[in-house]
């Protein structure tokens, strides 16, 4: 870093701090919209577009970035406390977050999530800033063939889940993949499995599927209990101990945070890839190389850290192609592009030469937002966790009402509310019969993406299947994928053998 860049960064840092009066209220707004299913930073910026355009460039930037970061973190709160992932990016969060809440460790889980999110977000912001020219090149190498392998990393989670009950796990995953294939095909837009519903032409909408499978079905289940928290795990009176415990647990696993947030960053810089892919891949990687893979899904802190650190890593990652190449990495970045073009900012390679303060300012706004967010939200975990003690006769109807509205919001179709309800019934039946809803959901979310990249690859190669092994990076990823499947089995066998030795 040369001295001029350092002086710009210092100047931008102090300027950004000066916008605390925008950042703090925006953080709370972001946490709220992130927490409500169906709402997101993207549609909030759209709704508030007149306000955003009326602000000067710097204020508008700070507002959008703070909202983006806070919404990402906010989505994890209901995912942990009531099993409602606010966005697809938080879909992997309840896998271990919600079991913790049910064990009366909601406050601890929130603290872990906040620490993982903030450190993951902050760290990846710094890395993105430092390695921007290199990271911007990732998209030049990660094409459809390579993305197929990345998708398989995430989808292989189905196999991990199936390990607990092979037949049921695979049936659930296969059902999810089948549901994911509903809609028009990627190449010729031929409708498949839409049952004549126009609303399904673009595939099964993610939010209704997400809230239906997780939240609505959970509401049906918890109504049979008095409170979410298991009877033998009644939460204690409000105290700071659980929060500090959560912070300590998370900080102790700092390597895990670093590792999984970098996964998020790398996936985030690939145009078109998103937080949902990153969080599942991070969870899968975390589980594969864990010494205690059997604890995943039961309320294991590492299973919560991985998706939260990764989806916040994506947040900074999406800025890289936007700023360096002028290609928005996701929906929120696309809207940022519109707002900034309104202010006359032109993106692309010349941005850091012509308007360096804009480019660096965005990353600085992100870093400052994470720091302020950490300080403002951590104390709240103590109060938020008490959602889990609200009697279910009040909580369950509220969850259903909120989630149905959430299902409606993204496209504003009544159909989507019915769909959320239908997925709720499917999820309830799955839970009651021992099928894992997460396996269904992974298929629904990642199946269409896998199909997209697969069909693109085949179309590009005129149907030659060997295209899957045609790139060097792709082949390296294939080997890594094979290793991530085989090595945990080998490690597991070795562990078992070691345990058996003393018994002899």
């Amino acid at each position: 870093m040369d001295s001029s860049t350092a002086s710009i960064l210092t100047e931008v840092f102090f300027e950004t701090i000066g916008y605390w009066y925008i950042i703090v209220p925006t953080i709370f707004l972001g946490l709220i919209v992130g927490g409500i299913p169906g709402f997101s930073a993207a549609n909030t910026i759209i709704i508030l577009m007149p306000l955003t355009l009326a602000l000067d460039l710097q204020s508008g930037l700070v507002f959008m970035i703070s909202l983006y970061c806070a919404a990402r973190m906010g989505a994890g709160i209901p995912a942990i406390l009531v099993n409602i992932p606010g966005t697809a990016g938080a879909a992997a969060t309840p896998l271990d977050g919600y079991p913790m809440a049910k064990q009366g460790k909601g406050q601890q889980a929130l603290a872990i999530s906040f620490v993982a999110s903030c450190i993951g977000g902050l760290l990846t912001t710094v890395v993105a800033l430092a390695a921007m020219p290199i990271l911007a090149r990732v998209g030049f190498y990660m094409h459809s063939v390579e993305m197929i392998v990345v998708m398989l990393f995430g989808i292989s989670l189905i196999a991990s889940i199936a390990a607990q009950d092979m037949v049921k796990g695979l049936i659930a995953g296969f059902l999810g993949l089948m549901i994911g294939s509903i809609g028009t095909d990627v190449v010729y837009a031929t409708p498949r499995g839409t049952f004549g519903f126009l609303e399904l032409y673009d595939g099964v909408p993610l939010i209704p599927a997400l809230v239906g499978l997780f939240a609505v079905s959970e509401a049906f289940v918890i109504i049979e209990k008095r409170v979410i928290v298991n009877h033998d795990n009644e939460p204690k009176a409000p105290n700071w101990t659980d929060t500090f415990d959560g912070v300590r647990i998370a900080l102790k696993r700092w390597v895990h945070i670093v590792w999984t947030s970098i996964i998020g960053l790398v996936i985030g810089v690939i145009p078109g890839a998103g937080a949902s892919i990153a969080s599942f891949v991070a969870y899968q990687q975390s589980r594969s190389f864990s010494k205690t893979p059997e604890l995943y899904g039961t309320g294991h802190p590492e299973g919560l850290i991985a998706p939260e650190a990764a989806n916040n890593g994506v947040t900074s990652g999406t800025l890289v192609p936007l700023l360096v190449l002028g290609i928005p990495g996701g929906a929120t970045a696309a809207i940022m592009l519109v707002v900034m073009q309104f202010h006359g900012v032109s993106f692309g390679p010349s941005l850091f030469e012509n308007q360096p303060k804009v480019g660096y300012g965005m990353f600085m706004a992100m870093a400052v937002s994470y720091v302020i967010m950490f300080l403002t939200i951590l104390p709240l975990s103590r109060y938020m966790s008490h959602v889990t003690t609200i009697p279910t006769i009040y909580l369950a109807p509220m969850i259903i009402a909120f989630t149905l509205v959430g299902g409606f919001v993204p496209r504003e179709y009544m159909f989507d509310m019915y769909l959320a309800l239908a997925f709720g019934v499917l999820g309830y039946v799955a839970r009651r019969t021992g099928y894992h809803v997460a396996a269904i959901l992974i298929g629904v979310i990642l199946g269409p993406l896998l199909e997209k990249y697969f069909l693109w690859s085949l179309k590009k190669s005129d149907g030659d299947i060997m295209v899957l092994f045609s790139s060097t990076l792709g082949n390296i990823l294939w080997v890594a994928f094979a290793m991530s499947i085989i090595l945990p089995i080998v490690f597991n066998m070795r562990r078992k053998r070691k345990l058996e030795v003393p018994a002899e």
């Binding site: 030049f140 002028g326 032109s346 390679p349 179309k459």
Partner: protein, 331 residues
């Protein structure tokens, strides 16, 4: 003296007054269209290009018409969902309009017929038109049309497009016909993906509407325009396909326009007249250009077209769609 007002005259006058009072709103209503907001069905997502374009135009049009516009967004299936809902559920009373794209959305009907008769609606006012173009990523090894033609001799080139049934795809296929090149179209699902595909090398180059290409800035370089290049430098002074290759291809355009049920225009000619007159007046107001540019529009693309031009455009898209159907739909 005979009283001035008898019981009979009082009752008669009262009845007449009552009848007049009751009838007045109806009489006035007939002459005061619109008396409530106009609903506009937008077949794409909120916050996208169509939304911005609609907001810019309606912000000025509402002043001429004396009422506000209420947009409803019905995205899905390349616009098909919005049109189906408009034609199936909206009353044909001139209070319901559709704001669509006469290029790709009409091309859809040729690929797969909708549930309604495509002649049951028509476009009456074009807001802007945006020619499609061919472009490469800034770092692509193919930097000229000659590079592309030369590379196409040794291998089949992959070309990104927003979707198969798109005017830009037709422009490329027509170019391939002319040059004897078999291009491989890869639908990259939307403008963002199409630009990214060319920039990152997922495909050899891409074709898209030029407004999105201009927005991509220095990351891309335009080599050919499937229409007239009226923005010059903004599209790297790329030549028109007809000039460069001595062709006679109609302009391949994305053209946003307001449409209406044919029945509404036939049943309520007075209302339709008010709509078309005020629509035209909007173009005469300099405030429109300001609003259009403020919403990221390319000033040169803001171009009026009325019922006849829009109908000709729609029919030409349907004909082109039929001609290239087998290549674009895989049928």
């Amino acid at each position: 003296m005979k009283p001035m007002i008898t019981r009979r005259t009082l009752l008669g006058t009262g009845a007449a007054a009552t009848a007049l009072t009751l009838a007045t709103p109806g009489l006035v209503r007939a002459n005061t269209f619109p008396e409530r907001n106009i609903n506009v069905y937008v077949p794409t997502s909120e916050g996208g290009g169509a939304d911005r374009n609609f907001r810019a135009f309606s912000s000025v049009w509402k002043e001429k018409l004396g009422t506000d516009f209420e947009p409803g967004f019905y995205p899905g299936a390349s616009g098909r969902v919005g049109y189906e809902i408009y034609m199936g559920k909206a009353d044909p009373d001139c209070y319901n309009l559709i704001f669509g794209n006469m290029g790709p959305e009409v091309l859809n009907w040729a690929m797969q017929a909708p549930s309604f008769d495509v002649n049951d609606y028509f476009y009456f006012g074009q807001v802007d038109k945006d020619p499609c173009c061919l472009f490469v990523g800034a770092e692509s090894p193919l930097q000229t049309m000659d590079d592309i033609i030369s590379a196409a001799k040794s291998r089949r080139l992959n070309v990104g497009t927003s979707r198969m049934a798109h005017p830009a795809s037709i422009g490329l296929l027509a170019l391939g016909d002319k040059l004897g090149i078999d291009f491989n179209l890869i639908p990259l699902q939307g403008g963002k993906g199409t630009v990214a595909g060319a920039v990152t090398g997922e495909v050899d180059f891409s074709v898209l509407t030029s407004g999105s290409v201009i927005a991509a800035g220095d990351s891309v370089k335009t080599l050919l325009v499937f229409g007239d290049n009226i923005v010059g430098e903004a599209l790297d002074n790329a030549p028109s396909i007809n000039d460069a290759y001595d062709m006679d291809l109609p302009e391949m355009l994305s053209a946003r326009a307001f449409g209406i049920h044919r029945k509404a225009a036939e049943d309520h000619p007075d209302r339709f007249e008010i709509l078309t007159t005020t629509f035209k007046e909007t173009f005469d107001d300099p405030a429109l250009m300001e609003a259009y540019v403020a919403n990221n529009g390319t000033p040169e693309y803001l171009q009026y077209a009325g019922v006849e031009e829009c109908e000709a455009f729609k029919q030409s898209m349907l004909e082109l769609g039929e001609r290239y159907k087998s290549l674009l739909s895989g049928a």
